[in-house]
Structure formats: C-alpha cells, structure tokens
Amino acid sequence: MIYGDKDTGILVQGATGKQGEFHIGLMNAYARQVGGRGVVAGVTPGKGGQQVHGVPVFNTVKDAMKEHDIGSAVIFVPAGAAADAIMEEANAGITTIVCITEHIPVHDTMKAIAYARMEGAAVIGPNCPGLLSPGEVKMGIMPSGLFSRGNVGVISRSGTLTYEVVDELTRAGIGQSTVVGIGGDPVIGQTFVDVLERFEQDPRTKAVVLIGEVGGNLEEEGAKSTDLPIVSYIAGVSAPPDKRMGHAGAIVEGGEGDARSKIARLKNHGVPVASRVSEIPEMVRELFRCRC
C-alpha cells in the first residue's frame, strides 16, 4: 500500500463546503465497505463544533490533531485558500496531503510545495482526483465502483481518463493496487518519479500503467527512474502547440512536451505506449507474460 491504508485516519479541509460534505459522505461509505477508518475529522475555520455526516468539524488542523490520530488530509477549499491549507496541514505534521482544488495560481502552488517539502510532507495534486487503493482506502473523489483489487499500479495526470483506464482494466479482470491521480497543473507535488518510488517499495504492485499528457517531460523522467514494468498512454497527440488543453499543465510550449516526441522517448527507453486506451489491458497482460 502506498500513502495510506485501512488504518489511516483522514482529515478533510473544507469539510462544510458543498464538495467537502458530498465527498466526506462518499469516502466514509467506502471506508465502511472495506472496514477502514475513513474521514475522522473535518476543518473549516469558524465552523468548529459542527458535524458533517457525523464527522466532527474543527477550526484548525492542530485542534483536530489533538483529538484524532490523523495520517492524511484531503483539501476541498477554494483556489484562493488552498495553498494556505496545504501549509497549515504540513505545519501540523500531516505527511500525506491530497489537494483536489483546481485553478490555484501556480506561484501559490510553488510556495506551498516548497514549504511542505521543508516540513517533510508529500503533496498529491493540486487539481487532482486523489487516490484509491481498492479494498483499503479512498482519499479523494474517484468513483470506487469501477475499481477492483489487484497488483497493477496506476499513475495519471488526469481524472476521468483515469476512470476510463481503470474501467477497462477491471472489465479485463486486471485489478489495481493503488490508483494515484497526480494532477493536471504545471507544478504538482508528487510527480511520476515520486509515486513510482513508492510503488517500488510496495510488495503488492507488480506493474504500473503510466497515463500522461502533453506538456513537460515528467513522464519520461518517471519511466527512467524505475525498474518496474510499465505500460504508458499519452493523451494529446492531436493537441496543437501553445493551446491549453483544459489542464493548465497540458500545453505544448516552445516546441517542448508534445505527445509524439514524448511517446518516442518512452519507446526508446523500452516502455510500450498504447495508441488507444482500449489497448492498455492487453498490453498489461503482455507485460506479465514476458516477465513470468
């Protein structure tokens, strides 16, 4: 397991907002289903003493930490307050911070991540769906119905595309160890390299599906950093340069980070790259065949 398991107590920052409330309900429904602890505390400044789906709400992260054993946090606060939320959690000693919030100015993200790094916290996101380890824990907004337990790790820069891939894997009988959405912004906390490092330490994960997109070269850096067998898919082959394809990070800048050269570099490194999402399950099977 990476980043957490059944025993991980989760804190939700922005607990009384519409999104926070909705997803505390879903995260705890999943926790009940798998026998996990789920969300044990919420935080919204000024709303301390309230409850959301039976979960106590506190004014500050430190207040919540005094009364509960908390290992990770999930952030649903608006863009203007999200960097502050990351720093508050890191400062309080939470070591895994999942930031769902999108549209955070990149300078805020850079500062929050630099600060979290000094405090020893790992930030997943921002602008991400979080992570889900089937049968163990859900931290974020992934639709758990599509998932099945197994030994393939999935790392992705996007949300719904990840669900599409997970759905294809599950239908093909290929279960997942942990699925991590690292986020679609240009600056994100945990990159492919960081998550792969965790997967290498995880006895359950035997292979990894790496879902990337145009922009930057984090996919290639990740593939080079690990000995785990990988299948990749890169979205944005048809993306024109200098146009932002939805994600702030999905942009081909100055001729860099286009999908075709990314795919070529991955293939050069020996990583099989699917041209279509529907090809991924068969390519994962092939991976296991050659390794066995």
């Binding site: 100015p105 949300g159 599409e164 930057g216 082959v237 939805g246 702030a248 100055g254």
Partner: protein, 361 residues
Amino acid sequence: MKLREYEAKKVMKEAGIPVPAGFLIRSADELTPHLGGLGDAFVLKAQVDVGGRGKAGGILMADKKSGLAVARELFGKQIKGLAVHEILAEQRLTIQHEYYLSITVDRSSKQPLILFTEAGGVDIEVTAKEHPELIRRATPNPLMRDLPPFMLRELVGTAPKEIGPVINKLYRVFIEKDALLAEINPLVTTPGGVFAADAKIIVDDNALGRQGIAVNRGLSEREREAEKNGFSYVELDGAIGVIGNGAGLTMATLDLIEYYGGKAANFLDVGGGAESERVMNAVRLVASVPSVKVIVVNLLGGITKCDEVAKGIIAAGISQKVIVRLAGTNEAEGRKLLSEKGYEMLDTMDLVVKKAVEVTA
C-alpha cells in the same frame, strides 16, 4: 495571458529595469507631436498578439523625415493576419552586446528557473541545443523574495556587474505579477548602460483576477463564451465536434478521432457535475462552429449524471447529428431519454468515434 510589449515594458520600468524611451500611438497622426522626442532615428514596433512579428514585417526603422509615412505603412499592414491597432515608437539603441535573460516555472524542480546567457542575439533554443554550456541556470526557492547575491554572481559570471540587479528585479516582477514567463530578449549593453530592448511577460490565467486583469485577451469570442460557462474550449479545424468531461478524456477522444483518420473541430471539456443547462449550452456552442457536421459526446459520469446530460442534449435541439457515449451515474435513465428521441448511442469511446469518422468521411 501574454502582455503586449508596451505593457510588459511598463511593468519592468516600474520595477526599476531600464527600458528604451518610447511611447504608444494608436494612429500615425499621434506620432507628429512627439517627433524629435526620440532623437533622429527611432523604431516603430507593431503591438500585435502574435510571435515572430519582426520577420513578418512588424518592426520598421524610421527617422524624423520618414516617420509619419512609415507609421502609416505599418498601420496599414496585416501581421500574420492581424490588423495593427497599436504601435510602440521607441528610441533606437546603440547596442554593444546582446544577452538573454528569462525566468519560467520549472515543472521538474517545482521552482522558478532562471536562464542567462552571454551568447544572446541568436535563437535561445538553438543555443540550448548546440551550446548548453553557455547557458547559466538557477532554481531559487520560491519562498524567497530576493535572490541571494551568490546566485546573482553565479548567473552573471563574466558579464557586466550591472546585470545582477536587473536579474533580481526581473525575479521580483516574476513573483509579484504571477508570471509564467518573464523574459528580456535581448538584454543589451549600450554606451548609456543596460536596457531591456524587448520584454515578454505571460501572466498565469488563474491569477488574472488578483492581477486586476478583467478580460483575458488571449481568447477568441467563442472561447470567451465558453469561459463564461466554465468550459475549457479550444477551436480546431475539423468537422467532428467534441464534448467530453475531464481534460484528459476529452483529449483522448480527440486523439482517437485522429487515430481513425478523422479531424476534430474543437476541444470542449464541460467539467465535473454538469447539469442539463450547461450541457445544452455546450452542445449549442459546438454546433455554432461552421465546420461542424457531427458532434461526439463522450461522458463518463462520476459526479456528472447521465440523465442530466441526456436532457441537455435534447434541449439543445440542434440540426447536426449527435452521437453519444454515456457511462456512469443514472446511465439507464439517460439512455432511455435519448433512445426515445432517436439519438444514436454506442457503448465505448472507440465505437462513437469510429461512427463519427464514418459519417464525416
């Protein structure tokens, strides 16, 4: 959003970076009262939102005598298809040496990345490829407001010392203006000191509000309409309209169109939790693109409810064919609504895309 040169230079001037004397004109006649203020010889630079304007004839040399005629000529030009509405008239510098200086956001280190080279005056990408050793780099901790002196010394190297303060001032601009890019290319030395001969600043679209920028000029009219609805929208030039939820899934749908030999007309991500009215607006927006013959809707419902999507598609009531793939929350209800109205539905994204390519072939 990219600032125009005169806007970027104003920002830099306010930050204490020397820029050439100059002023903006919106018609040739506006030049007359200022003639002489820039010395005998000066430069006229078209302020258009497009790269490579120099090569496209957007920068012209002028003097006191020819100034008015040259300004008229430039206002009459189209630079890469864009009309010239604004011209920056600027003092001509006596350049001794050209340097390159830029600050960007580095995805790998998650920090600002400063690049400086004494081998300026040529394409920086060419230098980066052929002589990477000539480019000096630094990745400062973004929590610092000023660069430490050692970092400035490392960057400046054997170049004139007066460049150090310019680098620190540009770093401040980068931080304070929420810039994704702050670039001076070229940074020049002249008998009168160091100047930013050109200036480029790109402001983070997510920070336009707090930077006091009300309208994102980088967007076309339809893109602005899309933005109002909260859609991510990019216009392309094919016949197949695309509506998806989530940037990655929508991009993958576009790629699949290309894979099967078709051409997408657009990228439209409706975002999460779309209700029927938003879906209706999305369908109408895509249908309004003249080249669109068929629309592919590829939605994977998590927070998005399929029955809401179906209602939106039906309410849009457009003339083009709509081919739908819906999966997830309330899928059965959504399918029922659409099939009653005779819409074509297929089970996977491969199937809907294949079908759309066949229709437009």
